[in-house]
Structure formats: C-alpha cells, structure tokens
C-alpha cells in the first residue's frame, strides 16, 4: 500500500488567517445591507453566524477539505448560488452509499455507532468512511475552536468601555 506510512496531516492555519477571513465576511455583510435591515434580529444573527462558518471554511482551505467543501456547498445552496470547484488532479471522493460504507467498515459496532453520531455533526460526514471521517473531524474541530477564539476576541474587544 503506497499510503501505508504517510502520516495524516491535520494542521490548520494560524488564528489571524481565520480572523482576516471573518472580518472580510463581516465587512461584506455591512456593505450589502446596512445593519438595520433585515428587520428581524434573528435574521441578523443568522447572517453573522453564517458568515462565521463560511469564513471559517474558506480560511481552512476552501475546497481542499471534504468538510469545508460540504459546508460551502450547503451555504451556496441557501443562497441559490453555485460553488465552483477547481479541477483537482486527485480524483474527488464520491459519496459512498451507507450500505457500501457499512460493508467497508470492519470496526467494532460500538465504534461505528459513535461514528454515526459524529457523521451528523461534521459537514459532509454522511458520505465518509470512518477513517476519513476521523481525519476530517480532527481538522474540523481545530478550525471550529480557532473560529470561536476569533469571535471571542472580537466580542471582548468590542465590549471594552
């Protein structure tokens, strides 16, 4: 097996990459519509939350990760836009049907149960084999915690009197 000794890389970019993308997203939001409209505050919160997740996916590498790709695709579907994916030299992983995925997995059922719950939490997890799922999850939680740190810093900075 060619990939036998390859160590799987789950490094994420530095915090300022996430911060930059997020601020960019926020500024786009502000120029699109002044913050006073849409009228409902829950819509405003939703927009900011969406900006956070989308900017996180972009900072994390855009379409080079399965989870970020799935996240961006979902967001674009909301906006009725289409996401353009660059042609990759490596073949794109096709969504694996759950029946085939189950036959490919020879791990203990209790592990598979927990993996199933994880699949619902990680974007794009539904089509991943367990081993791929764990790799994507490790990367995803690192990026998520980065993003949360960035937002916390912003909130702290804005809350100072």
């Amino acid at each position: 097996m060619a990939s036998a000794d390859k160590l799987i890389n789950t490094d994420v970019p530095e915090k300022d990459v996430f911060a930059l993308h997020f601020l960019q997203s926020l500024s786009n939001l502000k120029t699109q519509n002044p913050l006073n409209s849409p009228a409902k505050s829950i819509d405003r919160v939703r927009k900011i939350k969406k900006a956070a997740y989308v900017s996180m996916a972009r900072a994390a590498g855009g379409t080079s990760r399965l989870w970020s790709r799935a996240l961006l695709r979902r967001a674009a579907k909301d906006d009725n836009k289409s996401v353009r994916f660059s042609r990759r030299k490596r073949k794109v992983t096709w969504k694996i049907s759950s029946k085939r995925r189950k036959s490919n997995n020879q791990r203990a059922p209790v592990v598979e149960e927990a993996a199933e719950r994880l699949r619902n939490l990680v974007p794009g997890g539904g089509g991943m084999e367990t081993s791929k799922l764990m790799e994507e999850t490790a990367h995803y939680i690192k990026c998520l915690s980065m993003q949360v740190k960035v937002m916390q810093c912003l909130v702290d900075g804005l809350s100072q009197k």
């Binding site: 096709w94 939490l121 909130v155």
Partner: protein, 94 residues
C-alpha cells in the same frame, strides 16, 4: 459503471493502516481538552474518544451561536464615533 469505479477506489485509496488510525485517535484526543486531562489511563477507548468529540463539537457550535448573538448586538449598538467603531473600521478597511 460508477459502482466499479467506487469499488476500485475503496480497495486502494481509503484503506488506511492501523498506525494511522492510532495516530488519528491520538490527534483527536489531544484536541479535546476533557480527554487530555485524563492522563491516568492510556486505554481510552475509541468509542469514548468519538463520544467526547461529538460533545465537544456540540459545545463549540453552541459557543459559536452565543458569540454570534453577542456580536450582532455589539455591532448594532456601536456608537459610530466611539473608539471601538474606529478600530472596526480600520480592521475592515485596512
């Protein structure tokens, strides 16, 4: 046709070695604060790690929700002449 493509791919590229699984599990363990603190036993089971991961993700999502909420309020209530607004402006435009 697509099913034969899938089976060919499944048999070559998505089989990763046990070493890599162990490596991934330990990476996951290191990323999750609760498990990291439990240094006593080295035999944290894989399913426990996955369980803790689920909880961790849920917590992060909740934090992101709360922070989005607070951020929205703060951004709206910013007095345009305050120093905070100037900081934001310079960060966004700079």
């Amino acid at each position: 046709m697509s099913s034969s493509r899938r089976s060919r791919q499944a048999s070559t590229s998505s089989r990763i070695s046990d070493d890599q699984i162990t490596d991934l599990i330990s990476k996951l363990r290191q990323s999750i604060p609760e498990i990291r603190q439990n240094r006593r036993s080295n035999t944290v089971s894989a399913s426990k790690v996955l369980q803790e991961t689920c909880n961790y993700i849920r917590n992060l999502n909740k934090e992101a929700d709360d922070l989005s909420d607070r951020l929205t309020q703060l951004l709206e209530s910013i007095d345009p002449n305050s120093p905070q607004a100037a900081v934001i402006r310079s960060l966004i435009n700079g």
